[in-house]
């Protein structure tokens, strides 16, 4: 499989299951330069600094985002390089690995179509080297690998539950009743703040729920970047009503 499609979409080393050739590296380099990689990096760094607060952490996040760009690819016809990098920065900051999981699923699907059964083990690139995935990776995973994958998925779900609990805890500490109600209504499938006003039975303006959503987003931004088990930072008063 080529690293680039005919339309110029760069597939990424995870997808092609190998490292880049000289010609492909040169082409990726040119593609990134042509699409303003240097300027996009400034935007990415600014965003990372806003999220991570310190220069060291921002550098780390941007470095990892760059690596994931090589691993997971980029379709210049679908999204600008700047937005692609910003998204990767966000996903690195929040420790989100869904894209890798998605890439793995695509690969599994491909192998199923080829008549090769069994789930695919994590690609070598996901373990750190985007340019040198092992060419001799087994086509089917062992029982141990399946157990590890399952454990990872369960740990990921547990981490999400913990983060939601942390969010609720902080809203409770700030006595933000509206935000807590907003969360409960979202859980029940109500997305529109106007419908939330109705469902809550409160005689409040709809903007009260919009403001609650913004307070929640500020807290989510903070909690999402915290490593599991980290102590909450010194929150500003997010209290609502």
């Amino acid at each position: 499989m080529d690293a680039f499609t005919s339309s110029g979409n760069y597939l990424g080393t995870d997808r092609i299951g190998r490292g880049l050739t000289n010609a492909e590296s040169g082409r990726l380099d040119k593609l990134l330069r042509d699409h303003g990689f240097r300027a996009a990096s400034v935007h990415a760094f600014r965003f990372a600094l806003k999220l991570a607060k310190t220069k060291g952490r921002a550098e780390d996040v941007v470095s990892r985002a760059n690596l994931r760009l090589v691993c997971t690819g980029w379709d210049p016809n679908a999204v600008s390089l700047q937005r692609r990098l910003l998204r990767l920065v966000w996903s690195e900051f929040t420790h989100d690995r869904r894209e890798e999981v998605l890439a793995r699923r695509v690969e599994e699907e491909f192998l199923r179509e080829q008549g090769i059964h069994g789930p695919v083990p994590p690609p070598a690139a996901a373990r750190g080297d985007p340019l040198q995935p092992s060419p001799k990776e087994a086509a089917a995973s062992s029982i141990e690998q399946e157990v590890i994958t399952l454990e990872e998925e369960q740990a990921e779900l547990a981490a999400r539950r913990k983060k939601l609990d942390a969010l609720i805890e902080r809203l409770r500490a700030g006595k933000d009743e509206i935000a807590l109600e907003y969360l409960e209504l979202r859980r029940n499938g109500i997305v529109s703040p106007a419908k939330m006003v109705e469902a809550s039975g409160r005689k409040v303006d709809v903007k009260v729920f919009y403001e609650a959503a913004r307070r929640i987003q500020r807290l989510v931004e903070r909690i999402a970047g915290e490593k599991p088990g980290a102590r909450p930072g010194n929150d500003e008063n997010e209290g609502g009503s």
């Binding site: 040169g26 220069k55 910003l86 080297d129």
Partner: protein
């Protein structure tokens, strides 16, 4: 909606809002904000250049037989040897940088002749003042990386600096820095691997 789904939805929505906001900022404004935060914007550009340089350097080693212009595998450093270096452990710990990728990808194993892709320094035209300045910046960052015990990153930065300013490689302080990083790397290699 489960708790996990609700959290992920909130993270996605927050991310979208923040990305929209960040994408709306002009380059000049972004540079200005970084400068105001005490960040050297030239350093940020330097990191981007370094990443691109590491990409090119790393790609040279993983060339496939399908690429007739690529150097022969026989002439390239042993992949097995490169994999033996516990750099990927550092990568798993999310501390690896793009520069580390290039270094490990291009690092020649002991006794292996260097890859034939590097042109002899005598054939290289003298670097411009700008290139020398960029190389100087890369070497400063390499020293910082070495101080933080990140030898792979240090060596990758030194390699990137050598590409820009080959003559600077002969300086005593640069040689000493490279030696120090290689010593650090050997120490890491010598440590037993966790099972």
């Amino acid at each position: 909606m489960t708790s996990e789904e609700l959290w992920q939805t909130l993270v996605d929505e927050t991310g979208e809002a923040l990305i929209e906001e960040a994408a709306a900022v002009s380059l000049a404004q972004a540079e200005q904000e970084l400068a105001a935060a005490g960040i050297d914007v030239a350093d940020v550009y330097g990191q981007a250049d370094s990443f691109l340089a590491s990409l090119r350097a790393g790609g040279a080693v993983v060339a496939s037989a399908a690429d007739p212009e690529a150097p022969s595998r026989k002439a390239l450093p042993s992949r097995k040897k490169a994999r033996a270096i516990p750099v990927w452990m550092a990568a798993a710990a999310a501390t690896v940088t793009a520069g580390a990728v290039a270094y490990v990808a291009t690092r020649p194993s002991e006794g292996t002749p260097p890859a034939p892709t590097t042109p002899p320094s005598t054939a290289t035209p003298p670097p411009t003042a700008d290139l020398v300045a960029q190389a100087g910046d890369l070497r400063r960052r390499a020293a910082a990386a070495c101080n933080l015990s990140h030898p792979e990153e240090c060596l990758a930065l030194l390699d990137a600096a050598r590409d820009k300013d080959p003559a600077g490689e002969a300086r005593e302080d640069v040689k000493a820095l490279r030696q120090r990083a290689e010593d650090q790397l050997r120490e890491i290699e010598a440590k037993p691997k966790p099972k």
